[in-house]
């Protein structure tokens, strides 16, 4: 999972990086447009300055009036323009080897040009000076009347024409004029005039000579191929710029292609995503549907389970109830026998007494008659008295009042005893059930064990010996009817564990804070396996149909609810002892009572 997301992340970073790189490549050409313009301007400026210098040089040959200052100015401007190519924003250096080469060539030629220019300037200065000398010589000649002013003007014009076009007619005319001057000078007598004229001729020749000296210099200067090398530089730069432009174009194209590809890729991803989402939606919808179905199913199952649980709880409650009813039934049957016996003889005796009452009445009547006969003052005759006495004797023979009354007494005594027995049993039942008492109360377990014993008595009667070993114990706060049930259940089990004759020992002891009730039998005992399950619901060792297997589990629950515990010692064939240990005050007795009641 993390590996996969890392790969995806790297791919995204790579794609964005490539995009940035291409964007930058594209923009770099655009960003160079301003610089490019500057460079082009500079190159143009240099070219124009160069042309201006060249023009000025050419003009300086033709028109000697142009002073060298102007040429120097042009040269300075050209130098400044050239410096821009080497340094500053518009410099062409370090762009490409070709440009650098061209630049080097150009700057070398520029250096040569400057040197040639300086030579030329020196020549030009000499020329200017010779010119001035010529002009002064002319003026002096004119002043000394060695020559007319007009002739000098013509000479001047001829010299100027020669400057403009040194070959041709101008040169011939000038040569003639100079020859004439020379001739004229010889003709003149006056020395000063002749000298002036000779000076003029010499000055003119000197001027012409220095002018002619300029021609090779200017030719050398103009021959420096700066324009060509500038052209080379320009074309190199142009070519470089073209390359840049082409590269930019290429990257632009690449960017476009890449962008398109990226868009396509995004589109694909989007499509995949869309499909994925579609699939996801579909799956989600199915899931939702399944979920709803599942919920319904779960609800249904839950309902079933709840119903099953309720059924189970109901069945358990019914089972507990039926166990209660079964043990109640057993108890009632035993008690019924216990009650029926005294009731049997008490009722029968009363019946017998009542049936005998007519005989008693007969006897009394006979007695009365006999006595009245005997008492009569005019005692009739002996025969009548005899008859009366005989009837009396017969009566006594048939039913002896003394014996009868004695028997009545015995019968009624028995009846009374029977009724006492019955009321005692009923009292025990009432004690046992505690229906007329509060649910929780202080209770002496000795009394409880006695009551339980009375309830179970009919099972034991004649068969089992019961030994009681009761100690003074604290009364405990508990639900007496429930503890009675515990005692009865264990006593019943003890009685059933003993086949034939045997002994049940009941013992109560105070053990620190606990009250101990021990019920021991010398019956069949339990093996290890039975002991392990003895408190489990539905575990029974009795034949099917004779026990629900709930008796001991109810015992366990009641004792536990009272905060007590049960200890068992049992050996197969030797017998079993149950020890119930109860705290003096079980705080939960009330709730225990309520719970067991509810169950």
């Amino acid at each position: 999972m993390t590996l996969r997301s890392a790969v995806v992340f790297a791919a995204i970073v790579l794609a964005l990086g490539v995009l940035g790189f291409l964007l930058r490549a594209t923009l770099s050409a655009d960003a160079g447009v301003g610089v490019h313009q500057l460079r082009l301007n500079q190159l143009t400026t240099v070219a124009s300055e160069q042309a201006a210098l060249r023009a000025a040089v050419l003009a300086s040959q033709v028109a000697p009036g142009i002073d060298s200052e102007r040429l120097v100015g042009y040269a300075k401007q050209l130098s400044a323009a050239r410096a821009g190519l080497a340094k500053g924003d518009g410099a062409l250096t370090r762009m490409s080897p070709t440009i650098d080469d061209a630049l080097r060539v150009y700057f070398a030629q520029s250096q040569t040009q400057i040197e040639k220019l300086n030579e030329y300037l020196r020549g030009l200065t000499q020329f200017t000076r010779a010119e001035q000398v010529f002009d002064q010589a002319g003026a002096a000649a004119v002043q000394r009347r060695a020559m007319t002013a007009s002739a000098f003007t013509i000479l001047q014009k001829q010299v100027r024409d020669y400057y403009a076009a040194p070959s041709g007619t101008a040169a011939k005319e000038l040569t003639r004029s100079l020859a004439r001057i020379d001739t004229d000078a010889r003709e003149l007598s006056a020395d000063d005039r002749r000298k002036a004229l000779q000076d003029l001729g010499a000055a003119a020749i000197a001027a012409l000579t220095s002018h002619d000296a300029l021609a090779p210099q200017s030719a050398a200067l103009l021959a420096v191929p700066v324009a060509g090398s500038l052209q080379t530089l320009q074309s190199a730069y142009a070519a470089h710029y073209q390359i840049l432009l082409a590269r930019s174009e290429r990257s632009r194209l690449a960017l476009v292609i890449y962008t398109v590809a990226l868009l396509f890729a995004f589109g694909l991803v989007g499509l995949r995503l869309r499909q994925g989402y579609g699939e996801l939606d579909r799956v989600n919808a199915e899931l939702q549907k399944a979920n709803v179905g599942l919920e319904k199913e779960v609800e249904l199952r839950t309902g079933d389970l709840r119903k099953a649980l309720e059924d189970l709880q109901m069945q358990q409650a019914q089972l507990i109830q039926s166990e209660k009813m079964a043990s109640l039934g057993q108890m009632v049957a035993g008690v019924a026998h216990e009650i029926n016996t005294p009731l049997g003889y008490a009722r029968s005796n009363l019946g017998v007494v009542r049936e005998s009452l007519p005989m008693l009445a007969d006897a009394l009547r006979t007695y009365d008659e006999t006595i009245s006969v005997l008492r009569a003052p005019d005692t009739r005759n002996v025969a009548e008295r005899e008859a009366a006495l005989q009837a009396f004797d017969q009566q006594r023979e048939a039913w002896n009042p003394e014996e009868g009354v004695t028997e009545f007494g015995a019968l009624l005594d028995d009846s009374e005893h029977g009724f006492d027995q019955i009321s005692e049993l009923v009292m025990a039942l009432k004690d046992f059930s505690r229906v007329d008492r509060s649910r929780t109360e202080l209770f002496n377990v000795n009394e409880g064990v006695e009551t339980a014993l009375k309830i179970c008595q009919n099972q034991f009667k004649g068969r089992l010996e019961v030994e009681k070993d009761f100690a003074e114990v604290d009364s405990i706060l508990c639900a007496p009817s429930q503890l009675n049930q515990v005692f009865v259940n264990i006593l019943n089990n003890a009685g059933q564990a003993i086949e034939g004759a045997g002994t049940i020992t009941l013992r109560t002891r105070q053990r620190d804070d606990l009250v101990e009730v021990a019920i021991r039998d010398d019956g069949c005992g339990m093996d290890e396996a039975t002991l392990q399950h003895v408190f489990e619901p539905f575990f029974t060792t009795k034949p099917i149909g004779q026990g629900t297997g709930l008796g001991m589990s109810i015992v366990f629950r009641i004792v536990e609810d009272h905060g007590g515990r049960i200890e068992i010692d049992s050996k197969p064939g030797k017998g079993t002892e149950f020890r119930i240990l109860l705290p003096r005050n079980s705080g939960s007795a009330e709730t225990a009572a309520a719970e067991t009641e509810a169950a």
């Binding site: 049957a333 026998h337 016996t341 009731l343 049997g344 003889y345 029968s348 005796n349 017998v352 009667k461």
Partner: protein
């Protein structure tokens, strides 16, 4: 005069661990009978070995020896004596044992009604007055018993063995469960002619048409208890010997079967074939005796069934047919 009465008056022996019961019974019965009492089973059996009695009334729950055991041994000592069980409460097993082993005449519940008890004892005394006849082979086995006991048997209590030719009567099986019926049919079919019925109506029809000596019936036919039918049959056709089979009888039903049906045996399921055959064989010999010596049925006189049960039969038109039955 007292010695005269002891000779003429029938003797009733009462056994109970509660002396007051004995005293009450004595007060109740001594005007008509000679009443002997015993505090436990052993002393009662001792009395029976020393002198003949007519009727034995025993409690069921007693220390050392239960009422059923007393009745069983009393039957061996004096088969002639009529046995009654007087009980406040008995479990089903005790009642079934008292029927099958004690062959008792009636159950009497504590507390009893004096008039009813007197009537039952009177019936018992009159039944005891009929000399008991046993088929030869049964008598022989009874004599064997006596020899095993080693105790002398009172001469007048010994049943007279009579030779009884087999009557050739058949067995009627009444059971609505076809499978169980068929199982019994295979068990009994080899020895006797067996007729099968699944309803009261079929049963009565078969009785009308066939010579039947022993009726073997399930306790419950559908939703009806067979008690009413048996009561009516006992009332009008007392020679028929009834064996009831049940998987789940309650004590009350068992008591009714004796008191009103005088059934011969109450058998519990599951029933082994050998037990079924043996029981039917004994019942059949009893029928043979009863059919040839009709006065013997008095020893098996039953109390009339309660009115509501008779009404049920009457409604179904069965009572009239039962009355007119002529058992061949």
């Amino acid at each position: 005069m007292a010695s005269d009465m002891s000779v003429t008056r029938p003797c009733v022996l009462c056994v109970d661990d509660e002396p007051r019961i004995l005293f009450a019974l004595k007060a109740l019965l001594r005007s008509q009978y000679e009443v002997l009492t015993a505090n436990d089973g052993e002393s009662a059996l001792g009395i029976m070995r020393s002198r003949p009695i007519n009727v034995l009334i025993s409690d069921q729950r007693m220390p050392n020896m239960t009422g059923v055991e007393v009745l069983r041994q009393a039957k061996e000592i004096q088969p002639q004596a009529i046995r009654l069980l007087l009980t406040g409460y008995s479990d089903l097993n005790a009642i079934i044992a008292s029927i099958n082993e004690g062959e008792i005449f009636r159950f009497i519940n504590k507390p009893w009604i004096n008039a009813e008890l007197r009537a039952i004892v009177a019936q018992a005394v009159s039944a005891a007055g009929i000399e008991q006849l046993l088929p030869t082979d049964l008598a022989n086995s009874a004599i064997d018993d006596r020899q095993a006991d080693g105790a002398p048997r009172p001469a007048d209590a010994r049943p007279h063995a009579i030779p009884v030719p087999p009557s050739g009567a058949g067995v009627l099986l009444l059971d609505h469960n076809a499978q169980e019926r068929d199982e019994l049919l295979t068990a009994l079919g080899r020895d006797w002619p067996v007729h099968t019925a699944s309803t009261f109506e079929e049963c009565v029809a078969l009785l009308e048409a066939n010579h039947v000596g022993v009726l073997v019936t399930e306790m419950m036919i559908g939703s009806d208890s067979v008690t009413s039918l048996l009561g009516a049959l006992r009332q009008h056709q007392p020679t028929l010997v009834a064996i009831v089979i049940t998987a789940s009888a309650d004590a009350g039903q068992a008591m009714q079967l004796i008191n009103h049906g005088q059934i011969y045996r109450l058998l519990q399921k599951p029933l082994k074939q050998g037990v079924a055959r043996g029981t039917v064989a004994v019942a059949m010999r009893r029928y043979d005796v009863l059919s040839q010596r009709p006065e013997q049925v008095q020893r098996l006189a039953a109390a009339p069934p309660p009115a509501p049960e008779v009404a049920v039969l009457e409604k179904r038109g069965l009572l009239a047919r039962i009355r007119q039955l002529v058992l061949r």
